[in-house]
Subunit: 422 residues, 2 copies
């Protein structure tokens, strides 16, 4: 019978060294977010398949692991396509389940509701190095808060967490869907072209201003519009200060941009600057797009120098919960790049700073039951004194055994020989 | 478009109150097991379907959620049955994945390897009150340890954890597959009948000695054998002391029972008694069977008075890893009834003892950006001093708002009015 030792394709086993880092990072995240008043929730790994294929998930909807119907409901003979034989799917993110959760439990939850979720999601992506088909997402969301108090708290909580994990000198890039739209309107692009324009703009960091210009032209936009559009980004180039950038933008776009949008970002920037505890900059970035179609207002992204790309992001999505409950609820979320953080800490050979003393008891073989009882008693006592104690039989090659135990973090060894008192 | 607010049938959303208890229990479990030298690991939620349908999982194999093949591999037209259209399945326990994991990584792991796993498993059982189709299992296992050092450490670690969670006056029931077999052989049942005999014996707590007797007769066993079998349990009745019970059993079974089996249990009992830190009894129970076919030696079960039935169990399974690697490895595990513990704590309205002060800042609406910045600064400072601070806008009905916040554990309120200094 061909049993396989390997995990399923594209998913991975997690060994103790990595798992200890994951536990450590999870602990910091939970403690920090809790200090901001976020409360933990959880949702099932599976959702009804209709909830996952409602165009909210964008490209992720193509990557769903689908669950076969069971029992009498499964009728393979008459099935025409996959949708006939599946009823559930594995969640591909935590935002769709959260929105369903909130619609389902709104009456039992405080308002605003500050949710923390850490959990696995599954995507049947082409497996590649460092990218897995099951991975952990870590989201905080504030539901029911229409003002920028949500954005401010989300950015402060996320950056404080990153600071506690040892990251510094990073950036939080911020933009607004309404600014993206105002810029496109100002340039004179027709509204049905906007989504394509944003997709092209999103490539700015890869293809540069000239590349974006060319692709916009190739896409059939008039040279006049394209040049007007490009001129906005030229004017903003090199301006690092958020308030200054917004001033320039506001002057340029004039009536296309509501004052409220600018004031909103200015307030977020000021509050974050004065209350931040980590070493980072909040930077306005007119080229920030974020893929998901469900964002309705502010969008933000984490850029850490050690990483090439983004290490998490989020934004406001005021209409998603309405899809489930029929009633829109203001919502804003921030997702931290859990797997990228773990990867970086692993590469840095990071060791969680555990204050617990790790002691290994090496017990010579041939012990009597009475000796063993005494040794176990001694171990029990040490454990109550906050020591981590491993009781193992002494190997013939004691030196090698100790070396291996040292690699596991044991730095004290007590040897129990049968001719000595315990 | 019909989106559903409900979780999928038989699975549940977890609200903050329960999630906080789950996080608390998980923390105690991890800390305690770590102090015994167990190290955390994780495996994917899915396994190759062949690994799950190898008769190792007993009845659970009928309850597998199966995952549809994707892309070109899915060929519905030619599919004859479910096995043609699925490649993966959701894990129904943590023991099969652990065995695969160990076979896959043996060279990278210490020996003996002490593993701790906490994770979701899925079973497409008929949904019923308090029983869900996704639930958390929490297992510790010692792999590569042939002696009863494994059993002793597993029982001490599990009971210490239960003690730290506040349980007392409970029992750990212990038995041995080899004793079960010796008793059946002594009675004269033919070997092909043993499995059925054990299934009937397992009902002892429900149908009593007379009920077991009747079912054994109904099953076609001779009255002589049945009476001989029943007489063993009559002789053991009322004997609480493990050592005494083993003595009686050993006298009765004589050559059918190897001395080593009795000595092994005696040693476990003595070491556990002298080193235990929780308030419990280790009790030999000749009627303990445990369903899974993979057990090869000791078996044990937790009985907590507050519960009707068992609250976890385990045993030795020395042949399972060999199914994956072709080479048997001694293995012994103990699973703690995580979901039952959570249920009990919820029913007792348990509140985790968190040392963090929870403060709510109620901010009057109409604040200036400068005021908000100052308030956020004040909150940031309090959070560095280990307070959990919630910043919310003050509602018109402040009294009601405070009541709701009290229910969430906030016991201090600071009000920020626009006409007062921050």
């Amino acid at each position: 019978m061909g049993l396989s030792k390997k995990p399923v394709n594209g998913m991975k086993d997690i060994l103790p060294r990595e798992m200890e880092i994951r536990d450590y990072v999870t602990g910091i995240i939970k403690d920090t977010y809790r200090s901001f008043g976020f409360t933990p929730i959880d949702t099932p790994a599976m959702e009804n398949i209709a909830n996952l294929t409602n165009k909210q998930g964008g490209e992720n909807e193509k990557l769903i692991f689908k669950v076969l119907k069971r029992g009498e409901k499964l009728n393979l003979e008459t099935a025409k396509d996959a949708s006939d034989v599946v009823d559930y799917g594995m969640r591909y993110d935590l935002t769709v389940p959260l929105s369903r959760f909130y619609a389902n439990h709104e009456n039992e939850l405080p308002s605003p509701f500050k949710a923390l979720q850490i959990g696995s999601v599954w995507r049947a992506d082409r497996p590649q190095r460092g990218r897995y088909r099951q991975f952990t997402q870590c989201d905080i969301d504030i539901l029911g808060e229409p003002t920028n108090l949500a954005e401010i708290e989300l950015i402060l909580a996320t950056t404080t967490t990153l600071g506690k994990l040892g990251f510094k000198g990073f950036e939080i890039r911020i933009n607004e869907r309404r600014i993206l739209k105002a810029m496109a309107a100002y340039a004179g692009f027709s509204e049905d072209k906007w989504d394509t324009v944003f997709i092209i703009l999103d490539k700015m960091d890869k293809i540069g201003l000239e590349g974006v210009r060319q692709e916009l032209i190739d896409d059939g936009n008039t040279e006049g519009s394209v040049d007007k559009y490009i001129s906005i980004f030229t004017k903003l180039e090199g301006i690092k200060d958020t308030s200054k950038a917004l001033e320039v933008l506001s002057e340029e776009l004039d009536d296309f941009l509501e004052d409220e949008v600018r004031e909103n970002l200015d307030q977020i920037s000021a509050a974050v600057e004065s209350a931040k505890s980590a070493d980072f900059e909040l930077v306005f970035d007119a080229t920030l797009v974020r893929g998901m179609g469900y964002y309705t207002g502010t969008i933000f992204e984490i850029a850490i120098p050690e990483f090439g790309g983004s290490c998490g992001g989020g934004g406001r999505y005021d209409h998603m919960i309405g899809n489930f409950s029929g009633k829109d609820v203001p919502a804003c979320g921030f997702s931290i790049g859990f797997e990228r953080i773990i990867l970086l800490l692993l590469e840095q050979d990071f060791r969680p700073d555990v204050s617990v003393k790790k002691v290994a008891y090496l017990v010579e073989k041939g012990y009597t039951p009475e000796r063993l009882s005494k040794i176990m008693e001694k171990a029990a006592k040490a454990r109550t004194e906050n020591e981590s104690v491993l009781v193992v039989r002494m190997n013939k090659n004691k030196k090698h055994q100790k070396e291996l135990l040292s690699q596991q973090g044991y730095d004290e060894f007590i040897e129990f020989y049968n001719d000595q008192e315990v």
